[in-house]
């Protein structure tokens, strides 16, 4: 699908178990710099499980290989992956009371960039990115996700994406629960990141987002597998026909 460039992210034959249950049953993906992939699939099919396990969630058992720019990172901890340029925007970001957005982001930026950014410079950058996302600067002083509305949490995930500047980002339903203005703002953030050569995978249920963000590749995810891969037109087809017509994994098509 992509050009000759080495993918910023790839995974091969990934299986994920939660306790004894196999939820992800063999997934291959390869994402190049600046490329946007969309993953669409029914509720409970295992999309978030895949995303969390790829990031290294300790509750999941992952088999297969995960690579970032050709480096095998399968057994690395989440923070090691983050420091190598991987990012996950959570479907359900957790609250951390008592920790302000600004102090948390400063620590995260220092960890990921491997160097402390001077406070003044950091504040300037943070406020600029918040302005891009039309966020009230007061959010910098609020506790992380604590009492945030659904839409505010999603904006904060994108703010983190823009501040941490990963090479590869997995966005798990970052468009869910957004009003139309917020959706546009978030889409602009995603496009901005893509134009900076970030490779991206968007897990989404809605064609709506894809009106603003044009994916290069669309995957259909069902029952723990990618059952079909196509271009943007596949998303439109799903919008029209649902998932029923794709029922059997045997119909899975490659690109």
């Amino acid at each position: 699908m992509s050009h000759s460039a080495k993918p910023v992210f790839s995974c091969t034959d990934v299986h994920v178990w939660i306790a004894e249950k196999e939820v992800v049953k063999g997934v291959d993906l390869a994402v190049s710099a600046g490329e946007i992939h969309a993953i669409m699939g029914p509720n409970g099919s295992g999309k978030s499980t895949l995303a969390n396990a790829l990031m290294g969630h300790p509750a999941y058992t992952l088999e297969g290989t995960v690579e970032l720019s050709g480096e095998d990172v399968t057994s690395l901890s989440p923070d090691e992956k983050a420091r190598r340029g991987m990012f996950l925007a959570f479907q359900y970001p957790v609250a951390v009371p008592g920790v302000t957005v600004a102090s948390f982001l400063r620590a995260a930026v220092a960890a990921v960039r491997g160097t402390e950014v001077p406070v003044r410079e950091f504040r300037k950058e943070l406020l600029a990115r918040m302005e891009d996302l039309e966020m009230d600067p007061a959010f910098a002083g609020r506790y992380l996700n604590d009492g945030f509305s659904g839409g505010e949490k999603k904006r904060l995930e994108i703010l983190q994406l823009l501040m941490l500047k990963p090479r590869f980002a997995l966005l798990d339903e970052t468009d869910s629960g957004l009003d139309i203005d917020a959706l546009k703002v978030v889409a602009e953030g995603i496009n901005a990141a893509a134009s900076q050569d970030v490779g991206m995978v968007l897990v989404t249920h809605y064609q709506r987002l894809l009106n603003y963000v044009r994916p290069h590749v669309v995957h259909v995810f069902m029952d723990g597998r990618i059952v079909r891969t196509g271009g943007p037109e596949l998303a439109l087809e799903l919008e029209e026909r649902g998932y029923d017509w794709l029922e059997t994994p045997a119909t899975a098509g490659g690109a």
Partner: protein
């Protein structure tokens, strides 16, 4: 740990042979000696509290019995030097059974602030007002045998710009006594810091009383950061008069076994008490904190927020008493204790105790004991924070709202200690 506690066969021993000699060598008046003897009487014979009684259910009382006679006069150690880092009204050092006034600034001197050796301060009539003989056997041992004491008296109407700091240094056996007398309408911050132990074994049985007159505003901090060998019991009680405010900050870090009994009597109409505390334990540390907010008068209000974070195999028990007397209608009292467990082996218990004798009150309490949330950890780690750093951030967050309640200097001090503690884990 092997139990070295006395078994049923051998009765615990307590020798207090030289009370009169201790008192006369220290130059005390007869009233003070009488108070010592009164406490000593209560200890003869020595009846240890019933372990079934709530206050002693979690900690063996024999751990606090002195191994030698505390009234036996031993040569006085030279106290360590103390480098002052911030502007203070008064700095007083209690070490080796003696008081040294290290600092007294011009404002405090001009205002008539008194910092005196309690042995000859002629303050017997004020001693025992907040912790009277019979309060408990540990406090009685202190009252009978304390050595090294300080009276801090701030005259009526005086508002001190800088805080008062007291530093109490633990030796092999230390029985310090502190009496703070806040005059009507006075306002000041006072921090009592407990340090020392030199990594050796030692015992500390300390008692502090704070008398807060009408309309005064006292911010008192009790900061315990002993070396690991110390077994200690600290009692602090305030008596708060009408219209006065008392803020108690509690911070517990050190020692191997630490039992604290802190609180206040809201004795006059409209008195307000706020307690904010943090405790951080690790290794095999055993903490047992008890707080009491005792409402004796109408329209009094108290609030308590106590947070405990534990690592390794540390243990913590918290019992929080709110008592509202029949005549204390129109009062309100709130209490919250939260415990964060950072390891599988850490254990915490939290027991609220309410004795409310009137219907005309507003009162609530809450307690939680929870391990660190793995989803929070994963979230922070996914943003590049290594496991340990992520834990630190979560602990900071956990403590933050409580630390935010502390008065300025106390807060800075305690935050620095929290940070130091987190970075040694």
């Amino acid at each position: 740990m092997a139990s070295r506690a006395a078994t049923g066969a051998t009765l615990p021993m307590l020798a207090l042979e030289h009370v009169a000699e201790l008192s006369s060598v220290a130059g005390e008046d007869r009233a003070l000696l009488a108070l010592r003897n009164q406490a000593r009487e209560l200890l003869t014979p020595l009846l240890l509290p019933d372990r079934a009684r709530h206050l002693w259910r979690y900690t063996d009382p024999t751990r606090f019995l002195p191994d030698t006679d505390p009234t036996d006069l031993t040569p006085t150690d030279v106290g360590p030097t103390w480098r002052l880092e911030e502007p203070l009204s008064v700095a007083g050092l209690l070490a080796g059974g003696a008081l040294r006034v290290v600092e007294m600034d011009a404002q405090a001197r001009k205002a008539g602030v008194a910092v005196e050796d309690l042995h000859h301060a002629k303050a017997a009539e004020m001693l025992g007002q907040a912790v009277p003989p019979g309060h408990g056997f540990v406090e009685d041992i202190n009252t009978a045998a304390w050595r090294g004491g300080v009276l801090v008296r701030v005259p009526a109407g005086v508002a001190l710009e800088h805080p008062i700091r007291l530093r109490v240094v633990a030796g092999p056996l230390t029985l310090p006594r502190v009496l703070v007398v806040a005059g009507e309408g006075s306002s000041f911050e006072i921090i009592e810091g407990h340090v020392g132990g030199d990594r050796s074994v030692g015992k500390v049985l300390g008692v502090t009383e704070i008398l807060v007159a009408r309309d005064a505003n006292v911010r008192y901090g009790l900061v315990q950061r002993w070396d690991p060998g110390i077994v200690g019991h600290l009692t602090a009680r305030a008596r708060v008069a009408a219209g006065a405010r008392f803020h108690l900050s509690l911070a517990s870090f050190g020692g191997s076994t630490f039992k604290a009994d802190v609180g206040a009597y809201l004795a006059g109409e409209g008195a307000e008490v706020e307690t904010a505390g943090v405790a951080m334990g690790g290794d095999q540390q055993h903490f047992d904190h008890h707080t009491e907010h005792i409402h004796e008068a109408r329209k009094t209000s108290s609030n308590l927020d106590f947070k405990v974070a534990l690592t390794h195999a540390a243990r913590s028990t918290y019992t929080g008493m709110i008592r509202i007397a029949r005549q204390a209608g129109g009062s309100e009292a709130y209490q919250e204790n939260r415990n964060l467990l950072l390891s599988h082996d850490a254990r915490a218990e939290s027991i609220p105790e309410l004795e409310i004798l009137t219907d005309d009150v507003r009162c609530s309490h809450g307690a939680t004991v929870a391990p660190i949330d793995p989803e929070q950890l994963f979230y922070l780690q996914s943003r590049g924070l290594a496991n340990l750093q992520a834990m630190r951030v979560i602990v900071y967050g956990f403590l933050d709202q409580t630390l935010a309640r502390l008065p300025q200097t106390t807060r800075e001090r305690i935050e620095a200690l929290v940070a130091a503690r987190l970075h040694t884990e």
